[in-house]
Amino acid sequence: MELNDLVPRRGEWLRGTGSDSDIVMSSRIRLARNLAQFPFLNRADDSVRSEIERTLRRHLNELSLGGPRSYLDVSHLERLDRQFLVERQLISRELSESHGSRGVCFTEGENISLMVNEEDHLRIQVLHSGFDLDSCWQQINRIDDLLEERVTYAFSEELGYLTACPTNVGTGIRVSVLLHLPALVMTGEVKKVFQALQKINLAVRGLYGEGTQAMGDFYQISNQITLGKSEEKLIRSLKDVIPNIILYERKVRSALVKDNRAELHDKISRAYGLLRSAQSISSQETMDLLSSVRMGVNLGFIDDLSIPTVNELFIHTQPAHLQKLRKTTLDSADRNAARAGYLRHRLSPPAQGDKN
């Protein structure tokens, strides 16, 4: 599969199935691993970087990932293509922006991606739709076992898996859940949630990971600690707390429907109307309006649109996706016009864009 084959498709993690998928967009686990025989990347010169990349690429291409996979040499990709992969959650911004030999291996369904020469030699990621951390762990643990039969990881009995940054040492695991919390944001209650999470060592980030702001009312909740607790225990800590946030969001939604039904319905209908008729629209405004529409579909205010389509639109209206769909580079003003055109096409009645 070539990069351009991805453009009209959507990753399986966007299909809107799985437990609590009205609020939990996706579940993700990543593992940070390094090869014992090489220095970490900030002490690896170009030839060592290439050697690490060649070694890992060979193993990744032979690994059984339960289906076809692609390997892309990220160092040879155009900026737009790298940005496209970031928007798709297949690579991190760090891998996109860094230099030298690096790559990504991912499966056809885009559930599994393995980044080579990111902050660590290898970053394994498994992504599933809905609240499904157990499947993520089962799958990533198996991939890690298979790799470990082929390579020797940097590991110490005392500190576990050794990583370039001490914040990841030990299990090297980051367990995260992407939540859609429009009602908690609308009422300002979301701040209380963040403060409570902070107290139990869970981090809150925006849609595109570290250092990004919250867009479209999406928040990623993840563990901060990686050492001194087992993988199962770290996963458990998220599995224990996330249902409370889901319940909180549901309660606030119900209260909004009960007490401010007309106002809420108006807000959602206006958002839907704007997305279907705008002639120029920014990425940020699109995210905000799509967020209202997504909640509108889940609350039954909108009945001619499916959640997978809304999920897909969050990704396909991002700048690099629009340009790939249009097969041309566009400046900001042209992008806003192209985005509006794309949204009108996908959302115009009778919802012909909604093939689901």
């Binding site: 900030n42 030990g170 570290e210």
Partner: protein
């Protein structure tokens, strides 16, 4: 609304989250682009190297990983270690840092299957003893008894292996 960083009109409205605190930010398209690129978190260990005296900095300069030649001072400014052996070379300096970040300094998670059998056993003992401690603290005495049995049988196994 005006952009927070220049006189242009703000088109991006973001909620910045840092350490659980939220802050509203309004930016124009151009500043938003810059913001997206630079909004990466600070390296964890860059904490105030400036607050150190010249002799203290020299001290850090002399601390070198024999394997990759990274100095501890470089680690302090970059937040990244140079190689797996750095963890041994800077052990004394890293332990307080790890305690600070993780509240712990002993791994209790997954263990590579390829690790030697005896080190795997030693590790398993550490893990079981930790669990035992937790079980006693939680007053789950049935669980504690089970763990105690497991620990004893593993200790016997190791002793037997030692004699053979």
């Amino acid at each position: 609304m005006k952009c927070d960083r220049c006189p242009k009109v703000a088109t991006l409205h973001v909620t910045e989250i840092e350490k659980g605190q939220t802050q509203e930010l309004h930016l124009c398209e151009e500043c938003a682009q810059k913001y997206m690129v630079t909004a990466s978190p600070e390296p964890v260990s860059s904490a105030n190297p400036a607050g150190m005296s010249e002799s203290e900095l020299e001290e850090l300069e002399r601390l070198v990983c024999p394997h990759c030649k990274l100095t501890f001072r470089e680690f302090r400014s970059q937040g990244r270690l140079g190689c797996p052996q750095c963890y041994t070379a800077f052990r004394d300096e890293l332990v307080p840092l790890l305690e600070n970040i993780h509240g712990d300094t002993q791994h209790v998670g997954k263990f590579p299957r390829r690790a030697p059998v005896d080190s795997r056993k030693r590790y398993e003992l550490v893990r079981l003893r930790n669990e035992l401690q937790a079980a006693v603290a939680e007053e789950s005495y049935e669980q504690a008894a089970k763990l105690r049995d497991q620990i004893q049988s593993l200790e016997h196994e190791s002793a037997d292996a030692g004699e053979a």
